[in-house]
Symmetry: C2
Subunit: 195 residues, 2 copies
DNA sequence: AAGATAACTGAACATTTGTTCAGAAAAAAG
DNA sequence: CTTTTTTCTGAACAAATGTTCAGTTATCTT
């Protein structure tokens, strides 16, 4: 037999990405085979190559689209107010956005070393762009006397690292609601930047 | 030919661990083959099995000894003073210790999912133990009115996540010295806990 | 209904994987 | 020097890897 009933490109493509996303996040890119992905989709391994030129591209596209969505979502969120208000918005946006996409986040931060040189450079540009958005807020806050920060570059990375920490332990349905988590982290960040 | 000149158990064992450490950190456990490790040591793949029962144990032992050294080093550091003094000591100890072992740290936080169930549980116990040490300081600080923290459990994880962030960007010989980095992070942590 | 196209199978490919083991050679012991 | 022990080689194993492709079938077009 060959083509199965109900097979369709418009549905198989997304399902492949979903399966790859989940499996990469759970076991790691290198530990997941194309056959495992295919099995999850309910298809033979060869069929995957109608949707991706190779395994590497599968990973890269997942990471790239995630980073682009992140930047686009933050870009859409126009915030009026001083640096403190903007920082609060950033903190809560970051936590909320990332908690809605645990698998994508995990991959974006763990599988960088499995990208080839060219793809790695592409993702780094996007990531840098996101970090710059936060650093600009911190710089504005320092300039306006709103924040007291010894080093905005370090503070940028420290804040993002701290916020990303939430992904390692938060399970929705846990002790705290998303709003409470946002609040707790915002308070810690606010203190950390001296606002 | 078989046994080569100058071959010795006392020297090959550590070299295998060093090679595995460096390669696992650079490319990831799943992406590194036993033959690559052997090549780095200058030996055939079969020889590795005189020193480890299998690849999994190689990873586990690296992680386990790192966690035990971490706990032992913190245990040896007796700190006299209130919660703020102890927290400062912890922050600076954590940064210094981890910066001296970038590869071990990377593996300990990235390769957990490549441990089998039993080994994973073993490492988790050790990690929890380290987190508890920090949380105890935070609890003491809250009890004595030294810190203002909404949730010591979250704060513990947030502080560790923030400190671990330094490993992702710091290169020795960079813009800041180790002492300066310690100082910057300590100030941010001090603010974050309201001290 | 007939033909064209798109989607998938199933087998095959060359490599690479972790691991085992008989045998060889160096080192240590006598 | 001779024997024993330790340490390693080199080949082999079955299984798994990413990828290709000729052929088969469902779906779409006319």
């Amino acid at each position: 037999m060959a083509r199965t009933q109900g097979s369709h490109s418009g549905i198989t493509g997304p399902r492949i990405r979903e399966a790859a996303l989940q499996l990469f996040a759970q076991h790691g890119y290198a530990a997941v085979s194309m056959r495992q992905i295919a099995k999850e989709v309910g298809v033979q391994a060869g069929a995957l190559y109608n949707y991706t030129p190779d395994k590497q591209s599968l990973l890269f596209r997942l990471m790239e689209s995630h980073m682009r969505e992140l930047l686009a979502a933050w870009g859409d969120l126009v915030v009026e107010g001083d640096a403190a208000v903007q920082l609060e918005a950033f903190v809560k946006f970051h936590i909320r956005f990332h908690m809605q996409r645990p698998d994508e986040v995990f991959i974006a931060y763990m599988e960088l070393r499995n990208l080839n040189e060219e793809n790695f450079a592409g993702i780094e540009v996007l990531r840098r762009s996101y970090e710059d958005a936060l650093e600009q807020i911190l710089k504005d806050g320092v300039a306006s006397g709103c924040f007291r920060i010894p080093d905005t570059k370090i503070a940028t990375l420290a804040v993002i690292a701290m916020l990303n920490g939430v992904m390692t332990w938060y399970r929705s349905g846990g002790r705290l609601s998303l709003e409470e988590v946002e609040g707790v982290y915002w308070e810690m960040v606010r203190n950390a930047v001296g606002a």
